[in-house]
Symmetry: C2
Subunit: 244 residues, 2 copies
DNA sequence: CGTGTTATTGACCAACATCAAACTTAGTGG
DNA sequence: CCACTAAGTTTGATGTTGGTCAATAACACG
């Protein structure tokens, strides 16, 4: 029983952003075996149809989950940041119904399902925390579904930026409204059900209106209040704990 | 310890469509206390912002989950049929981030969170079954997200009809390709991110092409093969067990 | 410096939305 | 059994958001 490593801390920090953990929970998480791996930009981590026997903890970089529909077009389903376990579901859903890919070079750590299952058996509080995590996942899908279905392009972009900032802040990866976000316009388009050309035009509008400043690598939110209202954003669906 | 009632059987049947239960699991489920309630068409069962202390088991009728976005437009997030527990998540997410409403008159049964939690503590196998259920829920959101983001209106309608049939069949509520589906075109539009007028035109195309026959009350799938390919439908994401 | 990726621009287009009216159907009460 | 009504469906005319295509500009990287 030793102090959790910084890599374990990433996971702990994430879980603490959504659920109350006690000292023993943290220690137990610290014992999880991690098989480290670096992946390069655009590599797939898991692919639709796979039946993985480990989960993937993201330590550094940005991952996304995505589906390719019949005619080859891509829909990005979620973005993931340090501390996330984007394929936690594979613990209970044998075969992947979507893929996980790296949008930037990433540092990952794989955790065997066996180890994860044993931990959850031991510690019901952690089982609850992880279950809650997957439920929040679903809540985010719902919000995106509402956005793609019923919000216009400007609202969608603004909403996405609000969400990304809120989530980064919740795990201590952004402390002010200026933070790295190296995601291309084409990727944003795939996440929002738009085309890259149109995303580009929307971004120009948002910049012209003084809501954001962005190059392809980082994002600066210039007016949080107006950005949230432009994006119809309300963080309730993220189900974050009040204080971290 | 007695034979589970037909109402309990609905729930058992649903869970068995996605997970292996043993005899004791079924018996334990049969002991769940059910507080029955009938709701009329268009009534809300739970509302965004509520913090319910019971879950809602649907026995008869059709429920939907939905969100209202900033400008008052509605996005339907999911349809639910007999055996579903659409707000199971409320067990771990205190405050509702969306509403649950009745699309038809419904028979419901409420199960106290307390009773549900006790059952899951007792029977890890059932905890796994319910967790899996919420994960499949999320898988369906993902599929809808991909549809609204990247499929055209014809594909979306066809896909929805394939999904509805597959789910009804999995729990024994449809045995052939002709089944009741009393959902209005306006509701379908709200589920698919379209307008009622456009849904109407798409339906006319699908009927003209001999894929379906439908009035507002029931749906007959005339050509399953062509409907699935028109809708780019692959049931993998429903994560059903091979045999019921 | 090339070279490849990403961002930007412009001209044009199509899918789907909007608006408004008419038609159908199911239910209700006389 | 027949108005009457309300909800849902269908139709037509027209509008707009966002898509498509194609070219150019700006970077980043080796």
């Amino acid at each position: 029983m030793s102090i959790p490593t910084p890599d374990h801390q990433r996971l702990i920090r994430k879980l603490k952003s959504i659920y109350r953990l006690d000292r023993e929970d943290e220690m137990a998480l610290g014992e999880l075996p991690l098989r480290h791996k670096a992946v390069e930009e655009n590599a797939d981590v898991v692919r639709e149809g796979d039946a993985p026997n480990e989960c993937c903890l993201l330590l550094e970089g940005i991952l996304c989950r995505y589906k390719i529909v019949g005619d080859g077009r891509r829909q990005i389903l979620s973005f993931h940041i340090g501390g996330d376990v984007p394929d936690l579901q594979s613990l209970h859903l044998d075969v992947m119904d979507h893929s996980v890919g790296a949008l930037t070079p990433c540092r990952l750590a794989f955790i065997p399902h066996e180890a994860m299952a044993a931990l959850l058996r031991e510690r019901p509080n952690l089982a609850a925390a992880f279950w809650r995590d997957t439920l929040i996942d679903a809540a985010v899908f719902r919000e995106w579904l509402a956005g793609v279905g019923r919000r216009n392009s400007h609202q969608r972009v603004a909403h996405l930026y609000c969400e990304v900032f809120s989530r980064l802040e919740a795990v201590g990866l952004a402390s002010n409204l200026n933070f790295p976000f190296p995601v291309t316009q084409a990727e944003i388009a795939d996440a929002l059900g738009l085309t890259p050309v149109h995303v580009n035009r929307v971004l120009q509008d948002l910049r012209r209106d003084g809501l954001i400043a962005s190059d392809g690598r980082s994002l600066r939110i210039l007016d949080w209040g107006r950005l949230t209202s432009a994006g119809d954003f309300d963080a309730t669906y993220l189900h974050l704990r009040q204080a971290a």
